[in-house]
């Protein structure tokens, strides 16, 4: 796997994404979700909200890196809040 040039932070990043996907699959199998409307302007399933949450998180990170001098951990904290809000009320 040396050709993939792994680092510890990127390995943790992908492990977290993989765990999220596995957990969502198990959750969906045990309790299938139906589309619902929250604060997002469209009806979404749980999987849709995870996608929107993760895509939004990527953009939070890009915004913090590109527009501010803040620590990357602030972007991560903002992303965690965003992901939770979308999953819970989106």
């Amino acid at each position: 796997m040396n050709w993939m040039a792994w680092t510890q932070p990127t390995a943790i990043f992908f492990a977290v994404i993989a765990l999220m996907l596995i957990a969502m699959t198990v959750w969906e199998l045990r309790s299938p979700s139906a589309p619902r409307r929250g604060f997002l302007p469209i009806a979404t399933t749980r999987g849709d909200r995870l996608f929107i949450g993760l895509l939004g998180s990527a953009y939070w990170h890009l915004m913090v890196i590109g527009l501010t001098d803040w620590s990357i951990w602030i972007a991560t904290a903002l992303s965690a809040v965003w992901l939770f809000a979308v999953m819970r009320w989106g």
Binding site: M4, A5, T7, P9, F13, A43, I65, I72
Partner: protein
């Protein structure tokens, strides 16, 4: 609540394995590269988000991104209505329909670099028919020196190459509309515009979704045709995102910044494609 049986998803497993091998693993490698300064697989240093900072504040990327959005917007604004118009004006059956389909398919069969070469020669003022004719008519046309001429030539080339795709998709969508809709429209004495607005356009929605997505993604990733035609010039006037990326990755061998650039590029395409898809698939549900 209606519970769906999800076991059919197992059938997707072979495709998922193929995509993992051809797309997900390379994408993970790009993520790994984007946080390191890499000289070779054994000589690399972790740099955190440095490359992202560098790329996000790089004016070259901002300029290329702006040009890319303008180009894709122009491509969609021209090719989608033109493709629909061509499909609507095509014969519905008989030998002329077959002939039209063959003629429309020809530009799609030509490789990108050949299209670039055709238009490079076609647009030349000395030996190209288009360039010579425009100059003979009194227009000062030179795509190698004038920014507007270069842009118009790249756009017309793309329209020539890809409007057929939109037209063929729309044509197949139009042929799939049952005749009873047209019979009902005739009974109601609906005008041609009303038939188009209330029967044909709604029925074309799914093929238009595919057409818009394909043309957006393709135009946003355009590389070969403008590279062959203008080489990104005059100056950087037609240097789009993929050409800037290629210069960075292959020309300068800056693998870390190029990897960060690639991921930002990917995120933009993902977001815009998702917005198109959501707007077009959820439009009816929200009405």
């Amino acid at each position: 609540m209606k519970v769906q049986n999800n076991h059919a998803w197992w059938l997707v497993l072979p495709v998922f394995a193929l995509v993992a091998f051809s797309a997900i693993l390379p994408m993970m490698t790009v993520v790994n590269y984007s946080v390191q300064d890499i000289f070779d697989p054994t000589t690399r240093f972790f740099v955190g988000t440095d490359w992202y900072e560098k790329v996000l504040t790089d004016p070259r990327l901002h300029d290329s991104l702006l040009r890319q959005f303008i180009f894709s917007a122009c491509v969609l604004a021209i090719e989608i209505p033109l493709g629909i118009a061509v499909a609507l004006s095509m014969p519905t059956k008989g030998r002329w329909a077959s002939l039209c389909l063959i003629v429309l398919a020809i530009p799609l069969l030509i490789p990108w670099n050949v299209v670039g070469t055709i238009w490079q020669i076609f647009g030349r003022g000395d030996i190209g028919l288009l360039g010579w004719a425009l100059n003979a008519l009194g227009f000062s046309y030179n795509y190698a020196a004038d920014t507007l001429d270069a842009w118009v030539t790249v756009l017309v080339m793309d329209v020539w190459h890809w409007t057929s795709l939109v037209a063929l998709l729309c044509y197949s969508g139009l042929r799939a509309i049952p005749d009873v809709y047209y019979q009902a429209a005739r009974i109601d004495r609906a005008s041609s515009w009303a038939v188009f607005r209330h029967i044909q356009l709604p029925k074309l929605k799914s093929v238009l979704l595919i057409a818009v997505m394909l043309r957006f993604m393709d135009s946003f990733m355009i590389y070969t045709e403008p590279f062959v035609l203008t080489g990104g010039g005059p100056g950087n006037a037609t240097t789009f995102l993929s050409q800037t990326l290629t210069k960075m990755a292959v020309g300068q061998f800056d693998l870390g910044p190029a990897a960060a650039f690639s991921l930002i590029y990917f995120l933009i395409i993902l977001l815009v494609s998702w917005l198109f898809y959501t707007a077009m698939t959820h439009g009816d549900q929200n009405r």
